[in-house]
Point group: C2
Chain length 352, copies 2
């Protein structure tokens, strides 16, 4: 146990020293420079995550009643998603374990209980976020909710700065603002909310919600990387076990649903279940091998792709505004990664 604790401390030390020394790889391979995960693998991870994220809102829209409520029981869905992910990861981990040489087998799941407790934190934060959005949405109209979702990228930048101790240059901060602005500008204009007494309350709850869910993601990233040598499937198993624990507690003690646990759970519900589970697993790859900033940027790209697809399907004329905001987002992403790209390809930053 003591040996393990030391090992993790060393790991943490490596994580921090990395931040200041080999800066150039900090974003593309934030913690495991010795692992030969290639650019192609990273691209595949991002590609899959964006693909799943594009499909996810479509499955959700498909499973909603006309009044915008879900046909299925939301609490059940959250629990089911955790269970499906757990089953999936357990199966893959079993295969992985079998195919690993005997010497290395123990490395795959060498996680002391104390360390595993850190995986409880994101489970609690996600549950808090789910509860907050449940109350927050009643104070605020959906359009504003959507606009607010786009500011998530800024919250992620700020929290990432403090939780991971990762400094960003002025250009990187500005590029995050650009991406957020581009996202606001490319989404349809929200109907103006009536300035009711609850308006501020809604904003407050939504801010808290964003902070909770973003901290959860960053905390997951931090401890997935601190226990980098473990199998990602084993890490997920622990994470999902705690998730099931917390969500069962929520269902049993906190929520009083009118709907029965499996009411209205039809084919569209299964599609939501599949998409949410796939998203959860694909996210874990992003958190372990890439990072949360890549994740929020991918979200924006996924949103753009969704918009382009719906333009094609609904035969809408793309507007100047849409192209302009697409340009703003693209430029924002380029500026964010510019210095890494320049270093990677040995480009000199000329000042004219």
């Amino acid at each position: 146990m003591n040996y393990n604790a030391q090992k993790f401390d060393k790991n943490e030390y490596e994580l921090q020293s990395l931040g200041s020394e080999t800066k150039k790889e900090a974003l593309l391979a934030p913690v495991a420079p010795k692992q030969t995960t290639s650019l192609a693998t990273y691209s595949l991870i991002i590609f899959i995550a964006i693909g799943v994220k594009v499909i996810q809102p479509l499955t959700i829209a498909n499973a909603k009643n006309e009044d915008g409520s879900y046909r299925f029981n939301e609490s059940t869905m959250v629990l089911l998603v955790e269970i499906v992910k757990l089953i999936f990861c357990t199966c893959v981990f079993a295969i992985q374990y079998k195919n690993t040489e005997d010497d290395s087998k123990s490395e795959l799941h060498n996680l002391p209980f104390k360390m595993s407790l850190h995986f409880l934190v994101p489970a609690l934060l996600y549950a808090a976020s789910n509860t907050l959005v449940y109350y927050g949405i009643s104070y605020i109209n959906p359009g504003l909710f959507h606009v607010f979702g786009n500011i998530r990228i800024l919250i992620a930048g700020i929290l990432y700065r403090f939780m991971m101790g990762k400094k960003q240059s002025d250009l990187q901060w500005l590029s995050l603002i650009l991406i957020a602005c581009g996202a606001v500008l490319s989404s349809p204009a929200p109907e103006h909310a009536n300035s009711s007494d609850n308006y501020l309350m809604g904003l407050l709850l939504l801010s808290l919600m964003s902070v909770c869910s973003t901290s959860a993601s960053i905390y997951t990233e931090k401890y997935f990387k601190k226990t980098q040598k473990l199998s990602i499937f084993y890490q997920n198993i622990i994470l999902y076990l705690y998730g099931i624990l917390v969500n069962t507690f929520v269902v049993v003690f906190l929520k009083s649903e009118e709907k029965g646990a499996f009411d209205g759970f039809d084919q569209s519900g299964f599609m939501v279940l599949a998409a949410q589970s796939a998203m959860g697993v694909s996210l874990s790859f992003i958190f372990k091998y890439l990072d949360n900033i890549v994740y929020v940027i991918s979200l924006t790209v996924a949103m753009l792709i969704t918009a382009v697809i719906s333009m094609m399907f609904f035969d809408l004329d793309p507007t100047y505004e849409f192209f302009s905001s697409m340009a703003v987002i693209t430029i924002g992403i380029y500026i964010f990664y510019r210095s890494k790209l320049f270093e990677k390809f040995g480009i000199q930053d000329l000042v004219y």
Copy 2:
């Protein structure tokens, strides 16, 4: 004459060598580093130019009929503006000449005729641009015309690159695109034009128009700076004399107006005349002491200020879109001047 020609060649040489040596001052004091024009003076020039540019569209709107046509004769207005500017600059030049020491007096107006011919070029280009906009506007709807006007900043960047041989960094090109996108996004959405046969023709004419008027501005800048030692008022006198020559030719030989020369020239016409004249003179200061990129950026800032003022007057709710595009424009301007600012204030560009 020969002596003068040599002097100008040397001046040109200085201009080019400057481009590669003292890069940091290239934008703030592009050609005359020895002149002690201070930052305060530059700010004042920009401030006045923006102020005049904010007033100008209001005077024009005030002088239009309900169908959007001008109450005054446009050709007469163009000529009158040139004459008013000429009279103003002649008066100021006379005062300046009187107050200059005898030794330096000749420097103020030491312009060989051959060199002066270069001032004919912008006059011709502006006349071409005025004619093109006259025909182009009939092919295209005003909304699109407005959107197109915002792309001017990109045309300016490209032409500036080729006519002044001034290289820009990738960040500067991108920031010009950002400013243009921000301008498109902050202006009201244009009604969609019917895709008629004339649509492409309209775009072609407007592109040509933009190229003509922007080249005219850049050409003016180039030769105002090549003859830097002359009084700006003397330079303007020559410029406006050629302008009167060319526009008289246009009125007499090309345009067949139905309106009489002074029909409908009321108080609102005088306000247009004053605003246009003030804008012309303030522009000449920008071209001599600053540059065309400052000018197009000022145009965008003026547009934003106009929008904010009209929001205040017409009690409009500022939208998320407007704030977002304002942020995009501001960030664009910051990124454009970032490397100059960093050099000026000795800030290190940290790569995190």
